[in-house]
């Protein structure tokens, strides 16, 4: 039996449908990331599970019990706000042990649990500090510690790393996951950061306009995107417009601008159909010569960008299409120079083919 089950949950705010018939089951001990752009309905989903919002339609079940009419404090779930809300007049220790104390735990148990959790978030030495004496990252960890110490089985985390500096955010990802797993909790973590979701989650739920667009393991969502939107939002890709010229057993041939042909393994298309071919930046490699078995397109490097750990290039093909390519740098790397002539290569099996979106390509791929 699932620990949390949402059945046809719908929530409207005036004319806006924030959640549109969402069905979702979450297992005990699972770490789920809900991923989507601003306005996708992520926070609404979390607040409905927490009991801070009432759905207009549908059912919320927790531990096998319908909880639509159960108040937040009886749902065995703790909601953590984006802005960590610590009691400013209490020190770290008092903040963390607040839950157990008001629930009248005996002194020994409170002490044991609180010290353990503070140890885990590596703040044992700062137990006497007040929130305003701590950095943002430390305050965030205190808030987490308090959530965990509350004894709730379910952690509802709303952009828990959002207020932190980029470098620190990356550091805390694995700590957060470990914390949840060590305590055998179930976590639902809302984020707009696809890299964060892919790294932390057992399962990723991609939300868009109040609907679940796709869900699966990070691997599934990344390597088998089911829509242009998911390919673009999770991992990003080059999107090339074309139409199906030929279909046979080994795949299809897509004709793109100026009659250039892209071979793809996907053969679930009809000849003449208008399609979009998506190629991940890291699947498009560049080199001096053609690669056997790949799609090969000569072009010229238009931009070269070092992004710390990898290089990203923009290559302008002879038909005017620009392809982006990204590769991890390795030791002794030499960057290609702008203006250099290269061949862009990508394998037919690394091409995703989607029907041309009804609302246009830009609508599915634009960030703003």
């Amino acid at each position: 039996m699932s620990l949390i089950r949402l059945v046809n949950v719908t929530k409207r705010f005036g004319e806006i449908t924030a959640l549109d018939h969402v069905n979702l089951s979450i297992e005990d001990g699972e770490y789920v990331c809900v991923l989507g752009p601003t306005g996708a309905g992520k926070t609404t989903l979390l607040r409905i599970i927490a009991g801070l919002l009432e759905p207009d339609e549908g059912e919320v079940h927790i531990e096998g019990r319908l909880v639509n009419d159960i108040p937040p404090e009886e749902r065995n779930a703790v909601y953590m706000f984006q802005q960590y809300a610590l009691f400013p007049h209490m020190n770290v220790w008092q903040n963390v042990s607040f839950g157990p104390v008001i629930r009248d735990w005996d002194e020994e148990s409170v002490k044991k649990l609180s010290s353990e959790i503070l140890e885990m978030v590596r703040l044992a030495e700062r137990r006497d500090a007040f929130p305003n004496e701590l950095s943002g990252g430390m305050q965030q960890r205190v808030a987490l510690a308090r959530g965990i110490a509350s004894g709730a089985r379910i952690l509802l985390l709303d952009e828990p790393l959002g207020a932190l500096d980029a470098r620190l955010r990356v550091d805390l990802r694995s700590q957060l996951r470990r914390l949840v797993k060590d305590q055998k909790l179930t976590a639902i973590h809302v984020t707009h950061d696809q890299e964060e979701a892919l790294m932390i989650a057992d399962r990723v739920v991609v939300l868009r306009n109040g609907r679940i667009e796709q869900m699966g393991t990070p691997h599934e969502v990344y390597s088998r995107p089911q829509s242009v939107f998911v390919a673009s939002f999770v991992g990003g890709a080059n999107f090339i417009e074309g139409s199906v010229a030929r279909v046979d057993d080994s795949g299809s041939v897509i004709e793109i601008r100026d009659g250039l042909q892209v071979h793809v393994s996907d053969s679930g298309r009809r000849v003449g159909e208008k399609v979009v071919v998506a190629v991940r930046l890291e699947d498009a490699s560049i080199g001096p010569v053609e690669v056997a078995g790949s799609n090969n397109f000569p072009g010229r490097i238009e931009s070269a960008m070092f992004i710390g750990g990898s290089m990203e290039y923009g290559i302008r093909l002879e038909n005017g299409v620009t392809i982006s390519s990204k590769a991890l740098i390795s030791d002794g790397f030499k960057a290609h120079k702008v203006g250099e002539r290269v061949v862009v290569s990508f394998l037919p099996e690394r091409c995703y083919v989607f029907p041309y979106p009804r609302m246009g390509l830009l609508k599915e791929t634009e960030a703003m």
């Binding site: 601003t38 943002g136 990344y222 030791d331």
Partner: protein, 366 residues
């Protein structure tokens, strides 16, 4: 024209030294980013240049002119900060022409400039929209345009993208960079996001506790950081402690915990010195393809981030080494618990003296 020069700039808030004797020159046309952890003084510094904060000591020159006593509106700067500050009751057009209007410039002069700005930020079609009708990213673009319609040649960007979604941020940073190029501006950009700084800047400055600790072009800072703090702050790195076992004209041999010996190109230390070595996760090779500079251990976990596998390996002495490698999902090569050989080439290993206050203190980000 707008070269920026700071000479011995110091700013205190009570007992806290926010800027400690900062010296810095930003060349005309240069795009410079300042990064550093929260509280390092980067915002105080940019506010001093803008004229929002008055330094306690030191001089600030813009275009060769001492500006310490000049108010913000006379410094010839455009200033954009994190919280989008558009006038909510004004349209895009009224917002971006606000500066020229209050300065009393004739509309026939302002109009072409404003039109050009709108064109550049691809917002010509939305000039009648109100801020609330625009996305956060578009609002921030409008704020940048507004900062520039007063013919500012120096653009000061104080976490301009901080409040936006990551994807919007990644897209917008290139648009801002292009705008700065096309208009031949000088730009100073404060950010907490080292990837943002690396990808758009001519030069990146690292600050810590009120001081500039290092500055350089992005690729040099990443591959040849001069200090442990920088090595850690600009990207993930492995840090191992060890001792210099041997020295020659070519470099030194470092013995790390567990008895492994690694050849490095460093000649800055003496035999017996306690050192910290650092190397990037993507510079580690998997498999024993090198006959030397090998490290062996067991796979602790493999985490995928898109197509990149992040493999954590526990060495015999318990130290953890992170390796980043392009992996395919279809054929996972490693399983947890597998024994694995790693190697790092001598030129990829950085060697630093062991920090006086300990390694943890040097690596602390907060």
């Amino acid at each position: 024209m707008p070269e920026v020069k700071l000479v011995n700039v110091t700013k205190r808030y009570g007992r806290i030294l926010a800027n400690d004797n900062v010296n810095l020159t930003i060349r005309d046309g240069e795009y410079v980013s300042i990064i550093g952890p929260s509280g390092c003084g980067k915002t105080t510094l940019i506010k001093s240049i803008a004229g929002i904060v008055r330094p306690d000591e030191g001089e600030i020159y813009i275009g060769g002119k001492l500006v310490n006593d000049l108010p913000i509106e006379e410094r010839g700067i455009g200033y954009v900060f994190q919280n989008i500050a558009l006038f909510p009751h004004m349209t895009v057009w009224d917002n971006i022409t606000y500066g020229p209007r209050v300065r009393g410039w004739p509309p026939e002069e302002t109009r072409p400039l404003a039109l050009e700005m709108l064109e550049m930020i691809k917002l010509s079609a939305r000039s009648d929209a109100y801020p609330s009708e625009l996305s956060g990213g578009t609002q921030q673009k409008t704020a940048v345009a507004r900062a520039l319609t007063s013919r500012a040649e120096l653009l000061l960007l104080d976490e301009p993208l901080g409040a936006l979604d990551i994807r919007v941020r990644a897209e917008l940073r290139h648009e801002v960079r292009r705008l700065v190029n096309d208009l031949k501006l000088t730009a100073l950009h404060v950010t907490h996001d080292q990837e943002e700084a690396m990808s758009i800047s001519d030069r990146v400055i690292i600050m810590k506790r009120g001081r500039i600790v290092e500055a350089g072009v992005p690729v040099d800072l990443y591959t040849r950081p001069r200090g442990i703090f920088t090595a850690n702050f600009v990207g993930e790195a492995n840090f191992l402690t060890g001792r210099i076992a041997r020295r020659s004209d070519e470099g030194s041999l470092v013995e790390v915990g567990g008895g492994s010996q690694l050849m490095t190109n460093s000649r800055d230390q003496r035999v017996g010195d306690r050192v910290v070595i650092a190397f990037r996760p993507e510079f580690v090779s998997i498999g024993g393809d090198r006959p030397f500079n090998r490290l062996s251990g067991d796979v602790v976990d493999v985490i995928f981030s898109g197509s990149i596998g992040r493999v954590r390996v526990k060495l015999a002495n318990g130290d953890l080494v992170v390796v980043k490698t392009a992996l395919s999902f279809e054929r996972p090569v490693f399983s947890v618990g597998d024994g694995i050989d790693l190697s790092v080439s001598p030129e990829s290993i950085l060697v630093y003296p062991y920090p006086e206050e300990g390694l943890d203190k040097e690596l602390a980000l907060e």
